[in-house]
């Protein structure tokens, strides 16, 4: 071959390997394999209880059998299954709604930052808190419940929103309130990453409207749609605390879902709940494995697509009239979404007595009395304990997650082992707490560590690790393979490789750390089902207060506000990076 360099023609040849082939295996560093051990140790905290649960599900008093699964034939369980299927439908509808909000957001570029802030805010709030907010809004007493007061004012009387049938409206609203921002943000990131030249070409060809949506955007967004749908469907299948918090106990029979039903039968020995947990897990795992087909593609987010520097298609060019028309649709949505948060804040700013008897809109009793009432040693202790648990879990998940993701992405594992590990992580990522709660609680109680923040932190880390590993692995894998090969082969290019890899993977790291911290901070279900009375994370404290809901709206709202400050600030300040991290490898 000949090179033309600085006016010179230089003839060059390569170097062949000649002679006898040298026997032997390639260099394989065993270090990376060892790096899988911490993850294995942490995950065994879930695996061992899962095995115990599976064994319990098939164990009858007279030997192994399927008798425990008869629990599914009971009317209550059937109702729970039907309701869970309905929730899957709700999740799918929400994906569609979120997509439309993302599309609408592109037509109102100026409103989008504010709209995103309002939509994402609920995602940072604990599910239990959103349940509390919706209970305040839909309180049956017209003097306290916002919607009841409004409807009574207009029509003279109002139905009981949290009564039979209508409670669905409340819980679905609460679910949508929590998740819509997440869905819309991810879709928006995907839409922004569609290359500008492709968008221009399509427009020049005259492909617009529905045709453009069907022919260009939806196919390109398939991976993101996969991720979003997977997250929401799994959330719907695992639904527990929202129903527990938002629906009054008298309605639990009607609102029963699989997760809740497990809790209700968990006192009846160990076989029947184990069988239920296994069914719950099977449904979630099936959904996840189906979703994995969409996730297996190797995607890569164009670098800088999110910062708008790459020339990716940004906001759609629209006329002022269109923007105004869309603003009319979007602005009320933003107001509606801000409402529950405002209601919580306003209720918290009333003294306990005033909040208990009158609505948040009344001027009487405004003050910080609710905050004063809750600010006792228990609150500060649970804040501290929650922070400690979240910190332990986050540090463990990030530390072990990075090492494990490295092993899966570039560790040189045999292909079958890598695939098996990824599949196992996908399945574990969606494993419901109910699957390992009972054996873990029994073991922790026996060991006397049930209330220890360190133990809870470990369990949270184990539960969060699979998702973190999958996310980080996708981010690592989106780095050009040649770069990695060079870094692994010639030590010299390591520094530049590390610089590029860390540049590409930083968003995923931030996403993992922030989401783990926020999810653990907001967690109710793990603490509730596993921890004993010794520990007191915030959400358990809130749950205790919310039991006397009608009388303690003020303190509940105040606790909710205090509990939400840290996750909300953390998530909202890092949201754009978190989205970039979540979509690392999922954009078109």
């Amino acid at each position: 071959m000949a090179l033309s360099v600085a006016g010179l023609r230089i003839e060059l040849v390569g170097r062949e390997i000649t002679g006898r082939p040298v026997p032997g295996r390639p260099r394989r560093a065993y270090g990376p394999f060892l790096s899988g051990l911490p993850a294995l140790a942490l995950i065994s905290l879930l695996l061992v209880p899962i095995v115990i649960t599976v064994a319990a599900a098939f164990r009858m008093s007279d030997g192994p059998g399927l008798g425990n699964f008869a629990v599914l034939k009971e009317p209550q369980a059937l109702r729970a299954i039907v309701n869970s299927v309905i929730w899957i439908g709700v999740a799918l509808a929400l994906v569609v709604a979120g997509f439309w909000v993302a599309l609408a957001g592109r037509r109102v570029p100026r409103l989008w930052p504010a709209l995103r802030l309002v939509l994402v805010f609920p995602f940072a709030v604990a599910v239990l808190i959103s349940g509390a907010a919706f209970r305040i809004i839909f309180d049956p007493a017209p003097e306290r419940g916002t919607v009841t007061a409004l409807v009574t004012g207009i029509f003279g009387e109002s139905p009981v929103w949290l009564g039979p049938g209508l409670f669905w409206f409340v819980v679905v609203s609460a679910f949508a309130w929590t998740w819509l921002g997440y869905v819309a943000s991810l879709f928006r990131a995907g839409l922004d990453a569609i290359p500008a030249d492709l968008a221009r070409t399509v427009e020049a060809e005259g492909v617009r409207g529905w045709r453009r949506l069907l022919a260009v955007e939806l196919p390109l967004l398939r991976p993101i749609t996969g991720v979003v749908t997977l997250t929401l469907v799994v959330a719907a299948v695992r639904l527990f605390d929202l129903v527990l918090g938002a629906v009054p106990a008298s309605m639990h029979d009607d609102a029963n879902v699989l997760g809740l039903h497990w809790w209700r039968v968990s006192s009846e020995g160990e076989g029947r709940p184990a069988a239920l947990a296994l069914v719950l897990f099977a449904v979630a795992a099936a959904v996840a494995l189906l979703g994995m087909r969409g996730l297996r593609r190797s995607w890569a987010v164009p670098d800088g697509a999110h910062s708008g520097a790459s020339g990716a298609a940004q906001d759609v060019r629209t006329t002022a009239r269109t923007r105004r028309r869309w603003a009319v649709v979007v602005a009320p949505l933003a107001l509606l979404w801000a409402m529950p948060a405002l209601v919580l804040l306003a209720t918290a700013l009333h003294d306990p007595d005033a909040a208990g008897v009158a609505g948040w809109w009344r001027a009487e009793g405004i003050g910080f009395d609710s905050f004063t009432e809750i600010s006792n040693a228990a609150l500060w202790w649970s804040l501290l304990s929650t922070a400690l648990i979240a910190l332990i879990a986050t540090l463990l998940v990030v530390g072990i997650g990075v090492v494990t993701a490295y092993l899966l992405a570039w560790g040189g594992l045999p292909r079958w082992l890598g695939r098996a590990a990824v599949t196992a992580f996908v399945v574990l990522a969606v494993a419901p707490v109910q699957l390992y709660a009972a054996p873990l609680r029994a073991a922790a109680t026996a060991a006397g560590v049930a209330g220890s923040p360190v133990f809870l932190g470990l369990v949270h880390a184990a539960a969060g690790l699979p998702f973190a590993v999958l996310l980080l692995r996708a981010a690592f894998a989106s780095v050009p393979p040649s770069l990695v090969a060079e870094a692994l082969h010639g030590q010299t290019t390591y520094s530049s490789a590390i610089a590029r890899v860390s540049g590409a993977c930083r968003p995923a790291l931030v996403a993992v750390a922030v989401l783990e911290f926020v999810l653990v901070w907001n967690d109710f279900i793990v603490g509730f089902l596993i921890s004993g009375a010794g520990s007191s994370p915030l959400s358990l404290l809130l749950w205790g207060e919310a039991k006397q809901f009608a009388t303690s709206a003020g303190p509940v709202a105040a606790t909710a506000v205090v509990a939400s400050v840290v996750p909300v600030v953390l998530l909202l300040t890092t949201w754009s990076t978190v989205v970039r991290g979540l979509t690392a490898g999922t954009a078109p």
Partner: protein
Amino acid sequence: MASAQSEQQQLRRDIFKVSGALVLSVLGELLADGLTVPGTVRTAVTAALVVLVLILVTPTVRRLWKLRRPPAQDEARARLRSHAERAQHWLEALGSSGNGLAAAEWFEQEEKALRKLLDMTEPTADSVDDLARIADALDTWYVRTRRGRELLTTSERLSSIANLVGRTDLQELANLRTATANRLLGELAAAAGLLDDEPVPPPPGQANDAMRTRRLLERGLLHLALADRCRTDDDRADEARTARDRLNEAGMAIPRADLAADIALHINLALTYLYESALYESAPDAASEHARLAMTHAETAHDSSAQAHASELFGVAATLKGNHDEARSWWQEAERRYAEVGEREAQARCLQHLGALAVAAGEQREATELLTRSARLRGGAAGHEVLEHYLGKAASADRDETTRPRRAQRRRWCAWPRRPV
């Protein structure tokens, strides 16, 4: 410091010896005691002693068995083996700093005899390995001298030998060498055809990874050759990127002990990066890094030929940085090293680079001398396009130079009245 270390090591050895002796004496006593106890214990101890003696004696017996002389009646086979061993010996010396030149001279003299032996010997299951060793030696020699035609015939012969005795591993090796020969001859489509089909079933044995490395490396080199034929820069960049990917894959498959493959990999990666740097007019940092790694490995392996190859690439990197003086010194070093190991073709290539530099610097006389030496080493410039190009340039510049003084004189003569002004 060093003496303290060696003292420590000595102490460790002494401790080891003493403890070993203690353990042995204790074991000996135990065994001796055991022999005195009648019944099962004695049987067990006797069995243990027999096993111990077998363990001690077996390696020596095996070594002696291997060293046994071949049967006298099989003289032809013995001759073949002796040739194969000599060929292998000189093959290992080829390009080395100690015996490289002697090896090159041996190959020049013996090449025909080796070819004849390879072509005429009837392959059998016993002789096939010796024939393969001779083919290995010829392969290396032809690749070093860039003789594609001869490489092709040798590889085809190896292929037929492998077919006759049913050796799939040799068949695969012959295929790869045929691909290399085709590439050297410019038959890129034929080479690609041979590399496209994966070996089915995979050849048995321990050398699977080595074969995979070679296949991927050859693919990389093929893509570089294809890049050279592309019409647009975009296509060239695509091919170069593919070449780099294949080479990186090859890097993951190199057997632990294959230093030569390591060297070849880094040299080819350096070459690919140089190609890309020339294409994008970017700094050749990555190329220099790989050349440096190749140089380090080559020093470890005492491979002068590879050191020269790395120096040659350093020179190209220097020209990419616009540093012609540095390039000249690298190429001079490369030329010297190639000369030391008798690689004439490569030496001629370096002289050609130096000649090109001299042409660019306007040093016509020096350029002509260098390029003529290059042509002489190659047995003429015909078929060497770049060499012909520069020889033509040097000759025309030389003509200009001989006519220039007269013009200058004329100018001077015309200009003299103006001088005082």
